[in-house]
């Protein structure tokens, strides 16, 4: 039964119709969650004991950084799915995610720089965390341009998938960079194993902002994947009915 479900869902047609069905629910609920978390975080949380108000950029920086890495992992999963099972939808998803991953990484870098000026006294330093995140950004751009450089879609999909898999090694490096080397960037405040080192009053809106941002970015990915399907399947008869 699970196999049948996957088979159905992997068909671009079913995917498109299911996405259209659930899209508004995901979009409006995550929009509401993100806006509430932002208002909560910006106006109803106390100041930080050393940073004052400037820490509030965390409600954009942390969700964006989290998503920049998660989207890459999603691309890696899609790449394996495409290379092993030749699921076309997975290939569409890779190239649908890449520009959005680049965007979230860019937001993470910019918001981090803005925070760095009042906190560290500099907007850019070549420490391991910042540099590995910049590499992630460049890798997203590289994947997009690699895919665009082929006129043959199948070739583009295959090579892009391989590059995604090879580059996936960067993700644990970004994650662990603050533990393996001395960096200017602080280590994680929220970990799976230990008590958060961020006060609960600031933590709840942060979790809300991560969930809300995740939902909003998911919606962007869904829209972008719909666009990919429309381009790549444009010769199919069902597309004409759909449009």
């Amino acid at each position: 039964m699970i196999k049948k479900f996957i088979h159905q869902f992997a068909s671009p047609k079913t995917y498109l119709y299911q996405v259209n069905r659930f899209y508004p629910y995901i979009f409006y609920s995550s929009l509401v969650i993100y806006i509430i978390s932002l208002i909560w975080g910006l106006f109803f949380t106390p100041e930080d004991f050393v940073q004052g108000n400037s820490y509030r950029i965390i409600y954009l920086h942390v969700p964006a950084s989290f998503l920049s890495q998660s989207l890459y992992l999603a691309m890696a999963v899609a790449s394996v799915t495409y290379l092993v099972w030749r699921v076309k939808l997975a290939a569409y998803l890779i190239i649908a995610i890449a520009p959005i991953g680049a965007m979230t990484t860019f937001i993470a870098l910019i918001s981090g720089s803005i925070w760095g000026i009042p906190t560290w006294g500099t907007w850019w330093q070549w420490d391991a965390r910042i540099t590995s995140t910049l590499i992630l950004f460049i890798m997203y751009l590289g994947l997009i341009s690699l895919h665009n450089s082929f006129s043959n879609f199948e070739k583009a999909d295959k090579l892009t998938s391989w590059l995604v898999i090879i580059g996936a090694v960067n993700i644990p490096i970004i994650k662990k960079s603050v533990d393996w080397w001395s960096t200017l960037h602080q280590s994680a405040s929220i970990t799976l194993t230990e008590k958060p080192t961020i006060d609960v009053l600031m933590l709840y809106p942060l979790i809300g902002s991560i969930i809300g941002f995740l939902g909003l970015i998911t919606c962007l990915v869904l829209t972008s994947s719909k666009y990919q399907i429309l381009i790549r399947e444009k010769t199919k008869s069902w597309i004409r009915d759909y449009v």
Binding site: F49, V50, Y55, V84, S182, L184, I198, D199
Partner: protein, 136 residues
């Protein structure tokens, strides 16, 4: 899973293995070069010539900050070793005793002459009225 798919999966695992081991070797050989700064203890252990521009990092020792016009001197410590730092210029707002700092400059006769001082923030976020109760 049929044979072709199994083979493809093995190929992917092989490629990832190569990718991971290649990068690990690079990182392993670069190891300490990827460190953003030296801690005072590392500075004691290694002989670094005075014409080499380096970064040191650690905590600003409590009660060690002295200001004189725009000159500021303080001691950086990892609570094992200590390095005295001299700096002329403006330090970031978050620079304070007992918190993290990174300084860029030259080490000369046990004194570090800094050209640039950055504040390092730690992972603790809390409102002002709550006492710090972690042991770091």
């Amino acid at each position: 899973m049929n044979q072709i798919r199994k083979k493809r999966l093995y190929n992917i695992l092989l490629v990832s293995l190569f990718s991971v081991s290649g990068i690990s070797l690079i990182l392993y050989s670069l190891n300490s070069n990827l460190d953003y700064f030296f801690t005072p203890t590392e500075l004691k252990e290694q002989n670094i010539s005075s014409d080499k521009r380096i970064k040191i990092g650690g905590m600003v020792l409590e009660g060690s900050v002295f200001r004189n016009d725009s000159n500021i001197s303080f001691t950086v410590t990892d609570y094992e070793s200590f390095v005295k730092v001299e700096f002329k210029g403006i330090v970031p707002d978050l620079f304070q005793e007992g918190s993290g700092v990174v300084a860029l400059g030259y080490l000369n006769d046990e004194v570090f002459y800094a050209e640039e001082v950055l504040a390092k923030h730690d992972e603790n976020y809390m409102p002002p009225n709550i006492e710090i109760n972690n042991d770091s």
